[in-house]
């Protein structure tokens, strides 16, 4: 029977296009194309990217059943696959640590793997086999809920550009040496690490994202850093360490990042930077810093305010400022030290590029109001100031509004937007 359909539209396209199409299909649909026609029988087996997510096998409420079928599916796909595999990703919440994963990683290490992403389900942490460290061509590694133990002879991933470890059990020395042995590393993300004192030495690093209980962060050799985002959690241990510390954290952290463009600090970051801030004499200039976002700032602590002002002074090209107060502070018993603001030497120059300011979780405390006044007077090109008050205290909100209305503004175009639920 002859079809009077017309010429085949797609089977003779070059493999690079077919790959481009198949890679944008869910893996099941891609594998099913083997049934379309004789030409399509093995086209799927040549794709270089394999992504297995929660939808790659049919849904079932029984986790073990799903896990079994995921394992079977992935094993079969790998065995039937031909050619190099450049990207392998598993983000499946039903899959937990199981012995087959060792074999998959061994297989991948022999097939030129470049990008490996493994995000397994909640449960026992999977212990990454040593064959991972033989993946010489690895450019991107992203692991979640695993145990990583590099062998002593490990010389590093020479091609690695992006490292993302989330809830990974690894010794602090191993982390540091892993980072320093990857010369091309551009993007580093470490989250949910406990009690870590980290020194980062990565000459090509551009993006840094840290989240966890860090005792100490020292950016030793990171001249090319462009974007930093840090969330520092507190434990009693760390609090003690802070109190006893005699370092100047501001210098240790921000001393060697002249190319910084964006800084985001969360939770106790500002507090961390405030330690030893008094001893900073010479200003360090950040000519490229355009965005500063600091959350959970304790406005009762003048040192933390000083940190912010210090940062702002050092950033002549700052365009966007986002500060979030802390709704956690106990009400101050003593009168606030408003002399701090009278000192005058804090900020002489104007903020000539500041266009947007956003202040949230504002409790209407005296220091906060002074801070706003202070900035309003010194930002000639300000366009928007948004204030989101803390919802708890209505009376204070009103007081804040009254004070703000009185404020002198350097910018005639400034809009003060008070966002009230």
């Amino acid at each position: 029977m002859v079809d009077v359909m017309g010429p085949d539209l797609i089977s003779d396209l070059p493999q690079s296009i077919i790959e481009s199409i198949l890679v944008q299909l869910p893996i099941r649909d891609a594998v099913r194309t083997s049934i379309l026609s004789s030409k399509w029988r093995y086209k799927w087996a040549l794709i270089t990217q394999l992504v297995f997510d929660d939808k790659c096998v049919p849904f079932s409420n029984d986790r073990e059943v799903v896990e079994m079928s995921v394992v079977k599916f992935i094993t079969r796909v790998l065995f039937l696959h031909q050619g190099p595999i450049h990207k392998f990703q598993i983000t499946n919440s039903k899959l937990q640590s199981c012995p087959e994963i060792d074999q998959w990683i061994l297989f991948l290490s022999r097939n030129d793997i470049k990008e490996l992403v493994m995000e397994l389900g909640e449960g026992e942490f999977f212990r990454i086999p040593s064959s991972l460290f033989n993946c010489r061509k690895l450019t991107r590694l992203e692991l979640s809920r695993c145990e990583l133990d590099p062998p002593h002879s490990f010389k590093g991933f020479v091609c690695l550009r992006s490292l993302n470890l989330h809830q990974v059990l690894i010794s602090p020395d191993a982390v540091e040496s892993l980072i320093s042995r990857c010369p091309l590393l551009e993007s580093l993300s470490l989250s949910y690490f406990d009690n870590l004192a980290l020194t980062i030495s990565a000459p090509n690093l551009k993006y840094l994202y840290l989240e966890g209980e860090f005792k100490d962060i020292c950016l030793e050799d990171t001249p090319l850093l462009v974007e930093i985002s840090i969330a520092m959690y507190m434990t009693d241990d760390i609090a003690e360490h802070f109190e006893q510390s005699s370092n100047c954290n501001f210098l240790k952290f921000l001393g060697g990042v002249p190319n910084l463009e964006k800084l985001v600090g969360l939770i106790y970051f500002t507090k961390y930077l405030s330690i030893g801030i008094d001893s900073v004499h010479l200003p360090i200039m950040y000519h490229n810093l355009e965005t500063i976002e600091l959350y959970q700032v304790n406005f009762e602590d003048t040192k933390e305010i000083f940190v912010i002002l210090r940062m702002i002074t050092s950033s002549p090209n700052l365009k966007e400022l986002q500060i979030s107060g802390s709704s956690n502070i106990p009400v101050a018993v003593d009168a606030p030290d408003l002399d701090f603001w009278e000192k005058g030497c804090l900020l002489d120059s104007a903020l000539n590029k500041l266009k947007t300011m956003k202040l949230s979780e504002m409790g209407g405390w005296p220091h906060e109001i002074e801070f706003i006044k202070y900035l309003l007077c010194r930002s000639p090109v300000l366009e928007t100031l948004s204030i989101i008050p803390c919802v708890f205290d209505m009376e204070n909100n009103l007081k804040m509004l009254i004070e703000l209305v009185k404020c002198r503004r350097a910018s005639s175009r400034a809009e003060v937007i008070f966002i009230h639920e």
Binding site: S11, S20, R32, L36, R41, Y42, F79, L80, P99
Partner: protein
Amino acid sequence: MSETDLAVIKPEMMKPYVWLQTSDDSIQQVEQEIAMFCPLICQEIIQKGMGSSKNCAICLPQQVSPAMLSLILDYCRFHQVPGRSNKERKSYDEKFVRIDTERLCELTSAADSLQLKPLVDLTSRALARIIEGKTPEEIRDIFHLPDDLTEEEKLEPLRNITADPRIRLLNRLYAKKRKELKERERLKNVEVEEEHVDDRSVDDLLSFINGNDGDPKGVKTSKNKKKNRRKKEQQKNSSLKEASEVNKKEVNGHDIRHQSSEAEIISETSYLHYAEDDAFTSKPEFDDGDIDDEIDPALKEKIDREVEDFARRLNSDWPERMQELLSSGLDLEWNMEMNPSQRLQQF
């Protein structure tokens, strides 16, 4: 490039138009700025100095017809304006790919030949969206694909080019089970069918597992020995074939298949397992409920359990088991008198 070349090219670059020749040999005049968005054209202009006049028009690849060129230039014209927001670009892209499938395929091909990667990605994504979630018949319909795989081929496992003995063992078990179920079917039928050539080779390969259990042909020791020898040869042949195929790197489905039907039978049988929820699996896989109507459920269950048990054992203690298997001489010294369950209990 020498100084003189540069001096010659520079004034040319100032000209706002380039001349492009499409697949039908017609020549068009196009704004240079827009045409340069395509890497191939850019290369031709800068490296070879072409396109400055009608006489030295840049010859575009034959995938680029005038209609396609016009579409591509529209795309370039929109995107090369720097001021557009991401939202605007996305929205334009969505509308741009709302064309019929045939033109979409042509466009992908043309964009690829001009090395315009963003457009290739866009059109591929559109084609992927067309393919996603459709049945094979629908897909064949849309793209005019010939339905040239036989029913058997569609269900036949894809060639497994792994030499992993553990997987081959498991595959043999699965194949054995499939064969046994076929045997049951045949027993129900009154006529005695001719032995297929295929069956024969399956027999050879599986005889050491099969033994006396339910084999209607009646296994005799001498016959087993013969089978055993033949099976050894087959094994050698197929593993050699497999090795040579790996070396050949021949991807064309036809060639690989024709070379080793035996290897196929050993190969991964359950590739369709994960697709068993699909509509197009017409012939039941051995795991399906359909085929169970005619088979003694107790026996089937027994076989099921054996296979699962075996698989589980393999999965959990592979290193030790492999040692045992290898030392006991997996392929050669299986006791022919034992039936499958006894043999399994060896482990």
